[in-house]
């Protein structure tokens, strides 16, 4: 197993900066997901780790060994970095059978005939591909092709797995099954895994930590639950979560330094140290909806009701402000109805209006604990 250290990595394509001074430490055995919108640099970062792209600046260490350094002009070629990769298109070799596809990496290792055969049979068996080993990739379903790609990865037992959107070619249902399988697979091998995706559900469900990237820079590195609860800036807050978070730009109301207003609605953030101009982040489930008048609540009109199985998303309007709230079955609302809303102070996040950076939760659960 291996840890990976990335220091000040920069990669440019002409005028475009794909990676901008990225530093990251990946622990041994971790399942790290690189997440971000397309063009954010996540695939470039993965390919730099693989050695398929050469960064312009920075260093990469794998298991303590320097594999890339722009200063020392040290570039360890991909084949010598001891890693395996699953590509988005799987990149199965169409002219080789399943068995030959998996065997290729073992051939390069120059193993003895019997060891090579044993390993091959074992891997094919582990992935349930024994019966299909003499087929060609074009004769397999998408899920089976995916499994060949994994078998190919597993055969050489690399301590580091790199995966570039491996599930994006599968249909929704199969993707769900493969998520579970991949997670088991990683736990089983214990290999350090770096996984690229633009699908936040995939990132949240599989990772031990998520790296959110944007425009070649790292925005936040956190365990998935933390990422959802405490997004470190408005970009991450907005990017993570479905339906999206309510971001309310508000100014301090006169005289009372924990009361804020955007003209339509008033929010008591319960925190005295925030500046006069802020953005309040409130997840849809942090809005408490009631048909009764509550202390500190305000009245909204229900402008839309979208039931979705166990939960219902409702759209609330007050003046020109529109908020989304997530409610369970305990309350029944209809379009046009008036309801009152209370913000869950403990769950709110307060961001600086200019920089968008997290100033702090009004009531810091980490501190009070």
């Amino acid at each position: 197993m291996a840890s990976i250290e990335i220091e000040n990595l920069t990669k440019r394509y002409g005028a475009m900066t794909a990676l901008d001074n990225v530093s990251l430490k990946i622990e041994s055995g971790e399942f790290l997901v690189l997440l971000g919108p397309s063009g954010c640099g996540k695939t470039t970062l993965l390919r730099c780790l693989a050695g398929l792209e050469t960064p312009d600046e920075g260093e990469i260490y794998m298991d303590g060994e320097l594999v890339f350094s722009s200063k020392l002009k040290r570039i360890v070629p991909p084949g010598k970095r001891n890693l395996g990769m699953v590509f988005q298109s799987y990149a199965l070799w169409p002219h080789m059978t399943v068995r030959d596809n998996v065997k290729f990496g073992l051939d390069v290792l120059n193993l003895s005939e019997s060891e090579s055969k044993d390993r091959l049979d074992q891997v094919l068996k582990d992935l349930g591909m024994s019966d299909l080993q003499n087929r060609y990739p074009s004769e397999l379903s998408g899920g089976q092709q995916q499994r060949v790609a994994l078998a190919r990865l597993l055969a050489t037992k690399p301590p580091v797995f790199l995966m570039d959107e491996p599930l994006s070619n599968l249909d929704a249902r199969l993707r769900m099954d493969m998520r579970v399988e991949l997670k088991k697979f990683q736990a089983f091998t214990g290999s350090t895994t770096v996984y690229v995706t633009h699908d936040q559900t995939e990132a949240m469900t599989m990772s031990t930590r998520v790296v959110v990237m944007r425009d070649g820079q790292i925005q936040q590195v956190s365990p998935p639950s933390q990422l959802y609860k405490r997004p470190e800036n408005t970009f991450v807050a907005d990017f993570i979560g479905m339906p999206r978070i309510n971001l309310i730009q508000a100014n301090q109301s006169d005289g009372k330094n924990h009361l804020y207003s955007n003209g339509d609605i008033d929010i008591d953030i319960g925190w005295d140290e925030a500046p006069s101009s802020i953005v309040v982040g409130a997840r849809p489930e942090d809005l408490k909806i009631s048909k009764k008048e509550l202390k500190g609540s305000q009245t909204y009109e229900v402008s839309s009701v979208l039931p979705n199985g166990p939960e219902t998303i409702i759209q609330l309007t007050k003046g020109g402000t529109i908020l989304l709230a997530r409610i369970g079955h305990e309350i029944d609302v209809h379009e046009g109805e008036k309801v009152t809303v209370q913000f869950d102070q403990k769950a709110l996040n307060v961001y600086d209006a200019k920089s968008g950076a997290l100033l702090g939760p009004p009531i810091d659960t980490d501190r009070t604990n």
């Binding site: 398929l52 084949g79 988005q88 298109s89 990149a91 070799w93 390069v108 074009s138």
Partner: protein, 603 residues
């Protein structure tokens, strides 16, 4: 009393469906224009003709006989008429195809998969030799390597070096193979480049991560994946070389070096029509055999070579490092020598008053702008004054225009039927028949139409000697391409678009005119331009069907070359080359701007 078949009964609806009516009509026409001429050609070779009386006392016109086949394959004449030309055809075909593939494949790799600089403008330069008429290259070769031992004036080689080139350099296997390769390597290049573009470089990266060396990746991944494309490119290129007539004729006939294609022409010139047709059939069989062999090879393996497409396709360029500029200069020099230099030579040669004297005082514009002078070139005036040539130029443009427009429209209609009625076996048959002309070597195709339309048959008058016949054969010859273009265009138009119009109550004709034609137009117009240029430079196809009143630029140029009026011939070929290059340039620009439009749409 009346047999009550209602208009809306299922059977009547099937019969009255305008698309089905069109399908039947087109099947009939194509059967008549593609399959029937072939049968006619075969029949002609196994029937005694009137002119056979002078060949054999046994001849009874109208009776069946194996005489012509035996004369060609098993008589004292066979060696000269069939076997030697067959060997020559195979040797020049294989050598030129191998060279074309190696050169074209190498260039394709440089352009598609490496970071060689200057690709943008090298690509059009590299396709030049295929754009210009094939015998332009033969004429340019002659300009340099002509040998006075065979007749005529010395070429550039002898003028500069003072000694004549060896005869094997001037005429025969060597120059024919080289010039064929020069003409066809861009064809192989385009085929291989198409295959290379579909390779997902992640396949190579996967192997790279396993620690495989570059050689191992090339040997075990890249080459096996493009192998089927190579095999197909080999067969298609070979099939084209063996049908070439003008080029081997110019560089072979002076020393009695014949290929099957030139032998067809020579036999017709001698009035041995049936012998020529036997050779034409053999030529078709060679082409069929090659295609069949490649289909068998590729067909058996097709499934495994299917690359898996999907998201995440990536084509990455290989860094050449220190070789970048040397390779660029190599490719650029090569492009200049095969693409530009021949045209310069032709241009220079067309300015020489007395052929073969390479000094400045010998330069003249006579062959371009001069008036008729009995002292020079048998009194032929310069090409820009020559009434014959102006007439031929007009014929050329008319022929290319009508053929391109008709071929594209018919191609689009056939494509529409093939795509929309894909479950109908008759539609599939139509598709296959429309493809058959592709398998006919051009000179053999010309021979077929010669037998078919030499005399009146039923309601069809004798079309030989008419402009109509030239348009007909050019259209049918272009059909395999225009159907292909049409299929691509129609496939991109979703069925729903048409169904929406159908729901709105539009008839089939209206739907075709208002929905299909406009949406397919950009692809079809491009195809039309390609056909226009293609018909314009065609010679082997129509050489047997041309009469003085229907002459076109290419045939006039060929006749001048035959008569030894090289300056005039060169000037004419140069004009055709310039027109075709201009056409390609327009296409290239149009293609570029279209790409830009598509890109804007995506973002």
């Amino acid at each position: 009393m009346e047999l009550a078949i209602r208009r809306d009964s299922p059977l009547m609806r099937l019969i009255l469906d305008p698309v089905n009516i069109l399908l039947m009509i087109l099947l009939g026409i194509l059967f008549y224009l593609v399959l029937w001429p072939f049968l006619e050609l075969v029949l002609h070779t196994i029937t005694w003709g009137d002119s056979d009386r002078r060949l054999s006392r046994d001849a009874v016109p109208g009776e069946y006989t194996w005489f012509h086949w035996l004369e060609v394959t098993a008589s004292p004449l066979s060696e000269r008429m069939l076997y030697a030309p067959l060997v020559n055809t195979l040797i020049t075909g294989v050598i030129s195809t191998v060279i074309a593939l190696v050169v074209g494949g190498g260039l394709a790799w440089c352009v598609i998969r490496s970071d060689m600089p200057g690709k943008g403008w090298l690509q059009p330069v590299l396709t030049l030799p295929y754009i210009v008429p094939s015998f332009a290259i033969a004429l340019a070769w002659e300009t340099v390597f002509r040998s006075p031992k065979v007749g005529g004036q010395p070429g550039l080689y002898e003028t500069v070096l003072g000694i004549p080139p060896p005869e094997w350099v001037s005429y025969g296997t060597f120059p024919i193979s080289i010039t064929l390769a020069m003409h066809y390597f861009p064809f192989a290049y385009l085929l291989v480049a198409g295959a290379l573009m579909t390779i997902d470089s992640q396949m190579e990266e996967g192997a790279l991560l396993s620690g495989a060396s570059r050689m191992m990746i090339l040997r075990r991944i890249t080459f096996p994946v493009v192998a089927p494309a190579f095999a197909a490119a080999f067969v298609l290129t070979f099939g084209k070389t063996i049908g070439q007539f003008a080029l081997p004729f110019l560089l072979g006939a002076p020393t009695q070096f014949h290929t099957i294609a030139t032998m067809v022409y020579a036999n017709l010139a001698l009035g041995l029509d049936s012998m020529a047709y036997v050779l034409a059939i053999l030529l078709i069989l060679m082409s069929l055999l090659a295609i069949w062999a490649s289909n068998k090879f590729v067909g058996n393996n097709a499934r495994r070579f299917e690359t898996i497409s999907g998201k995440g396709f990536r084509s990455r360029q290989v860094a050449l490092g220190g070789w970048r500029w040397p390779i660029f200069w190599g490719v650029a020099t090569f492009g200049f020598v095969v693409g530009v230099l021949p045209l310069i030579l032709l241009g220079y040669q067309s300015l020489m008053l007395i052929d073969g004297f390479f000094n400045l005082s010998n330069l003249t514009m006579h062959f371009w702008t001069g008036q008729s002078d009995p002292e020079i070139a048998m009194g032929e005036p310069g090409v820009l004054h020559n009434a014959n040539i102006l007439g031929a130029a007009w014929n050329t443009i008319e022929l290319a225009f009508f053929s391109a427009v008709i071929a594209s429209l018919v191609g689009l209609i056939i494509a529409y039927i093939v795509v929309r009625k894909d479950s109908n076996p008759l539609a599939r048959m139509l598709d296959q028949i429309a493809f058959i002309p592709f398998l006919f070597p051009s000179i053999a195709f010309g021979a077929m139409y010669l037998t078919m339309f030499a005399e009146a048959r039923g309601p069809i008058p004798a079309l030989y000697g008419t402009f109509t016949l030239l348009v007909l054969i050019s259209v049918v010859n272009r059909l395999p391409y225009s159907v292909k273009t049409g299929v691509t265009a129609v496939t991109q138009i979703g069925r729903e678009l048409e169904e929406a119009a159908e729901v709105a109550g539009a008839s089939w004709g209206r739907r075709f005119r208002k929905i299909i034609v406009p949406l397919a137009s950009s692809g079809v117009v491009t195809g039309m331009m390609v056909s226009f240029v293609g018909v314009m430079r065609e010679l082997s196809l129509i050489i047997l069907l041309i009469t003085p009143s229907t002459r076109v630029l290419m045939t006039v140029g060929f006749n001048y070359a035959e008569e030894g009026l090289t300056q005039l011939s060169n000037a004419l070929v140069l004009i055709v080359a310039m027109i075709t290059i201009a056409g390609e340039l327009i296409l290239w620009w149009a293609g570029k701007s279209k790409l830009v439009r598509l890109r804007e749409k995506n973002s």
